[in-house]
Amino acid sequence: MSSDYENSDNEYYDDEDDMMLEDEDGSASEMDVDAFDIDYRTSGKDKLKLYEVEYDPLSQRDVEKMMQQDVENISGIFGVDSNIAALLLRHLDWNKEKLIEKYMDNPTAVNTAAGISRPERSAEPPRSSSRSQPSQSLLNLGPRRSSRRPTAEPPKSGKTKIIERISPPVEEPQAFVCPICFDETQTETYSLHCEHRFCTSCWNTYITSKIRTEAEHWVTCMAEDCSLVAPDSFIRKALQEDNSTWNRFQELLVRHFVACNPSLKYCPYPSCTYTVSCPSASSRSSLTTIVPIVTCGASSSHKFCFGCHVDDDHRPVVCGVAKMWLQKCQDDSETANWIKSNTKECSKCQSTIEKNGGCNHMTCKKCKYEFCWVCMGPWSEHGTAWYSCNRYDEKASVDARDAQSKSRASLERYLHYYNRWANHEQSAKLSMELYAKTEKKMDEMQMTSELTWIEVQFMKKAVDEVFKCRMTLKWTYAMAYYLDSGNQKELFEDNQRDLERAVEELSELIESPLEPESIPSLRQKVTDKTVYVQKRNEIVLEDTAKGLLEGRWKWNCSIEGFD
């Protein structure tokens, strides 16, 4: 088995990984090894966890190579210049099959639509379907020599003539005046083969404005109603020394190519030019079974979802749920704020009661009436221990008496999940402070104990893990909100509760004040807890991913992608 990998030139495979691969056939006892080794395990490309997807990060160069291949391919098939092949491909959104089909059917129409040739005016005999031989140069660059007359060759029959001059330019033996800037001092001109001449300075400003202001890679001739498109060689020439605009143009071309290909996605991080290829997540239906979280090749912090626009690692929930939940949070933000700050009236004595803490068992301070905050009914009617902190009792909503209580109950239900979601998000946001504090503690440990720098890393490792798990926990509340009640949801919430407890305990450990004499025992406790937390997190992620693949999760409303 390992010999296959020895021959591979893939950088991901090293000796460690080969060992891991062999272990896989044996027992699953790897969990018990020292916490510091665990990271190696997730980096092996072929050892994908159920909740991971296979993908390749691509640099802009890599994508340009893919584009170049398509261009050369089309250029070879049609026997056209690569500038023309590129315009044809861009016009048909890089769909090679469609291009070939259309081009074989009617090359003139495709050339016209792609801005390569101008529409024919006079009715000409139907062209033969033989391949075109556009040996002519696509553009006329450089200063125009006034002696040159446009040569109007009679069309040769049986040969597709791509370049045609419909209206010969008016010959002006006097000084050229650019019809755009009226600047007589501008004598250098360019034109596409339509012979619509403009000064080089206007071309430069125009193309720069198209690329910079409009983020456009499709640059047509400046003349009115002229649909000829400037090929890359023309743009390069017109931009002259402006390499930065040229590079921006290249980036726009790559972005267009990536947008046309469902198995590619551009890294959403600002000014990053990396692309990720993830064919397994290219169809919409795949997004009901996998959560394609990927990282671009530029930075490990450029983590994003290949399947949606949520700029977060939203595992374990699928894109449809993540989107719905975020939309709900946005729509209800006012209501949530209102209800959170709102107080209620005791249904017996009408005095104002403020809720403090998370418990729904309320007692009126004035008349001692005990009631449920959700349905406002008497507490005595509710069973004992009906409430546990991560679980929302759906029964409470059913118990709601009237329409007002019902809508209040549904808001309460939402707030139950929302508050826990927001709490984890908030805690994760505070992680920068926690990192700073932990760093200080690690310094302190090195000074007050025998521990070396490498030996105190367990603290940082623990903070990393807490942060990671809070992200998972955060999204589990979005998941639970949409899960249909029943056994599966209960099992999900059992796992959620176990992870949450473990995370809170680890948090407490790393935030507790340092006592020099107990450092060795703290180290042991933190290390053990970190391993345990990691295990609990794996369980939540793995089991949720498994459930998605099995179609085990039942939703309480319709979710995008699911039937």
């Binding site: 009226f182 600047d183 300075s201 400003t205 404005s209 202001t213 400046m222 009115e224 002229c226």
Partner: protein
Amino acid sequence: MDARLRRVNKEIADCKNDKTSNIVVDLIDSSPYHLRGSFSGPEDTPYQGGHFEVDIVIPESYPFQPVKMKFITKVYHPNVSSASGAICLDILKDAWSPVLTLKSTLISLQSLLCSPEPNDPQDAEVAKHYMTSKSSFEETARYWTMIYAGGPGKGGVPKATKGGTMDEVAMAGLEKAHVDQFEAIGFERSKVIDVLRRLNYRGANVAKINDDRVVEELLK
């Protein structure tokens, strides 16, 4: 000299020298980048005899980005917002070309008045009116031309005096009898006009919209 300034100055001068096109471009203040264009309503249209003014803003990247234009004069036309004067015309957007000028663009606006494009409307209510009954639409457009653009009154109808009352029913392109009918039930006249206009209570539509539907809207 700055290329944009040279070009705009030349354009303004060209308009001044050209006496045949009847296109006028004036400075509003000292800036050559905020102008007022005007032209007369095309003949054989409901806009005939009117004088139409257009607000012109020359953007920083002119002429590589399109000039910004909107009607100052209120116009009843499917491609012009009856409220803001905003114009839906391709050359002011994607179809702009740097060789187009203020003059050629204003001429295009003039010809837009000749040939409305109700399928690509700026003002959906006006477009619906146009599609439902062209003759009723033209009557309203003519009335607006008279009220706002100083156009002539329709045979015998006196030109509205400045500050005088204008006929709200005609402004909305409705029939007086229809407005009277619902006003008689006890609804406020302005509310009736508003609802009937929104429902496009004109031409063949009148038969399709039953009275209950109108009353329901009026009660909202």
